[in-house]
């Protein structure tokens, strides 16, 4: 994905060529939908939120200052929208409390460990059940391939704040997951 393609398309749209916006949509639909999906774990809702993000981007194209890369601006806009949407109508999975995360049905494999798939699912559910500020920091951090600076730009927060939230979010996760998922082993021992 080229930043110059984005810039060229934005200039064409601002000059009145609406069709040029399709290039932007096609380039960024995957990332925006996937970002939305990580927030709500609902494909339909992720697409709805991504569509609204594109519409807002279209309305606000003139406000994009070219000192930042277009994708940075777009992700910040989308993140802001997703966060407020999910605060307005929480995702069903998000409304689950950390204490309500059940152990997977097949909690132990033959050697006493969890099946990888179940364990991964439990971790992702636990992330969604975190308090919003930690959840958002973790989602953005991993979405941006563990780049704190990008996550901070998307969230519109200083890097230090994001690092602190990541640290605290991981602490909460570690505590809950170790406590809940390691219980079978401890009982066995």
């Amino acid at each position: 994905m080229s930043a110059s393609d984005d810039q060229a398309d934005v200039e064409r749209v601002l000059a009145g060529d609406i069709a040029a916006f399709e290039g932007i949509v096609r380039r960024w639909q995957g990332p925006l939908i996937n970002l939305g999906y990580r927030f709500c774990r609902d494909r339909g809702r992720a697409e709805e939120m991504a569509q609204e993000a594109f519409l807002r981007a279209y309305r606000g194209l003139g406000q994009w200052r070219k000192d930042a890369v277009f994708s940075t601006w777009l992700f910040a806009l989308a993140t802001n929208l997703y966060r407020s949407e999910l605060r307005r109508i929480p995702a069903r999975t998000v409304s689950v409390s950390l204490d309500d995360i059940a152990e997977p049905a097949d909690a132990r494999a033959s050697d006493g460990g969890l099946e990888d798939e179940d364990r991964d699912l439990a971790v992702r559910r636990a992330v969604l059940a975190l308090p919003p500020k930690y959840r958002e920091a973790l989602i953005l951090f991993y979405f941006h391939e563990m780049d704190v600076a990008s996550a901070a730009r998307s969230l519109g927060l200083p890097e230090g704040t994001v690092k602190a939230r990541l640290f605290r979010g991981r602490e909460i996760l570690r505590g809950k997951l170790t406590q809940r998922l390691a219980v079978p082993r401890l009982k066995e021992a």
Partner: protein, 140 residues
């Protein structure tokens, strides 16, 4: 199979980094572009005609101010008169001629209670205006 003893950072990073990517629906881009075209075709919102409304707003503002000042002065006069139990000033006389025989106790309670009632009325008006503006802007 890996045993789960504790969630160290590497393990968490591995799990949360390995998210499955979902593909957009086939019609997603088309649907977004339809919405964008509808948006572009919609007429721009009509701006509020400030130039036309300004004289009326100024007159209305002045009228409200005058009424408030007149009301406060009248209440002040009433308060003063209540201490002598008679309306002696021309202001009070003219006001008393408009008041029904059974006037509410507020008009006989003196300056303090009158001021409280005025303040409450102003506060109520302010809250009503803020509330209606909030509802009109769709944030309510």
């Amino acid at each position: 199979m890996r045993r789960l003893i504790r969630y160290d950072e590497d393990e968490m990073n591995r799990i949360l980094s390995s998210e499955d990517e979902i593909l957009p629906s086939s019609g997603f881009a088309v649907s977004v572009m339809d919405a964008v075209r509808r948006e572009a075709a919609a007429p721009p919102p009509i701006p509020f005609p400030w130039k036309r409304a300004l004289p009326g707003l100024v007159v209305a503002g002045l009228a409200v101010t005058l009424v408030l000042v007149a009301g406060i002065v009248a209440i002040a006069q009433l308060g003063r008169a209540s201490t002598t139990a008679r309306f002696s000033t021309s202001w009070s006389l003219s006001l008393s001629s408009f008041l029904p025989s059974a006037t509410p106790p507020i008009l006989h309670g003196g300056m303090g209670s009158a001021a409280i009632w005025v303040a409450m009325a102003l506060l109520l008006a302010f809250v009503s205006v803020k509330l209606s503006m909030r509802m009109a802007s769709g944030r309510g």
